[in-house]
Symmetry: C2
Subunit: 199 residues, 2 copies
């Protein structure tokens, strides 16, 4: 009942995560009725990004150049390699201002149900990257979800025998956290991984 | 910290209703990482729709031709004109299969706070449409929200003195509705607007 271009637009909007048929229709109407300028900018931004944005050849994050600014920088400690799941996680690590090493972005996590295995995540390329002769320590900073944990275990088993130090970011009570509101699993881990206090 | 094309894409996605900065970033990553084909289709669908989809010259709904299929059809009863807020509302009316007249789509509702007045909604053009000499009855089918009601009142006051019959779709208990779950306002209206039963 709608014009073909409108239906095609609503259908195309459904490729966005979390957008069902009703929201897609609402979005399409909004774009055509109330924000044609924004719509044109969006259409052009998508096509531009598809052309311009690719992956850093070294750390696999999104980049418009062969090497991302971080990998190209001489200011970073190239003996440290932090492995994260996504570019967003990398940005979170950067925001801590507590890390000066380099990164490797998996662009996903092991998830057999979604068809994401070692091959799809390019673990061979990661292994090559780790064994460049410069990296001394690999820091596993995948999420503490089931899938992130499985990925960390797999990577630890793969990398440990190759003579690099493999570490995992700590688990425990969040900074500013009150025990009353921490979940029992986290508290149990914090207890198990307790540290001795300097006397 | 992100490549410029990625940031521009996330920023552009925020023109979609209900999309904040976090969802926009998630959507941008999803498009570039997991669904480049869908992204290209979306970008092209937006630009195509902007070029192709305009408004029907007669009923103001979205159309790719000067007259939409409904207005161009000779099968419809052109003495009836149903006024709705949006093309979605028109589609809902069509799905009832209970209406064979024509439509006029306001593409909005009176809403002074959003800067939508009689001029922005093009009530002059609507008046011209109503006074074409063929329309005998105008059916007000705006929503039963505060703004939809205000719009209906305004239109009734504008059209009634012009010699056309003006009606409003009925309010009441929904078909299949149980009194227990109907809100008191609706029930009060249903009571006030009760009909006499055929003996």
């Amino acid at each position: 009942m709608n014009p073909a271009g409108l239906d095609a637009l609503a259908e195309a909007l459904r490729c966005l995560p979390g957008v069902g048929p009703k929201s897609a229709q609402r979005m399409a109407h909004h774009l055509l009725q109330s924000d044609r300028q924004g719509a044109r900018r969006l259409g052009e931004a998508i096509l531009h990004a598809l052309d311009a944005v690719r992956h850093c050849q070294r750390c696999n994050t999104f980049s418009e150049t062969d090497l991302c600014t971080r990998c190209a920088s001489s200011q970073r400690d190239s003996t440290l390699l932090c492995i994260v799941e996504t570019p967003v996680d990398m940005n979170m690590m950067e925001q801590t201002l507590a890390y000066q090493g380099l990164y490797y972005v998996l662009m996903g996590r092991l998830s057999p149900l979604d068809g994401m295995g070692a091959r799809e995540l390019g673990f061979e390329r990661l292994l090559e990257r780790v064994l460049d002769g410069v990296v001394r320590e690999v820091i596993l900073a995948t999420n503490y979800t089931n899938e992130g944990e499985a990925t960390a275990h797999y990577l630890a088993a793969m990398l440990a025998p190759r003579g690099v130090r493999v570490t995992r970011i700590a688990r425990g009570v969040p900074v500013g956290g009150e025990l009353e509101f921490v979940d029992p699993g986290t508290l149990a881990q914090a207890l198990r991984e307790r540290k001795s206090c300097a006397g």
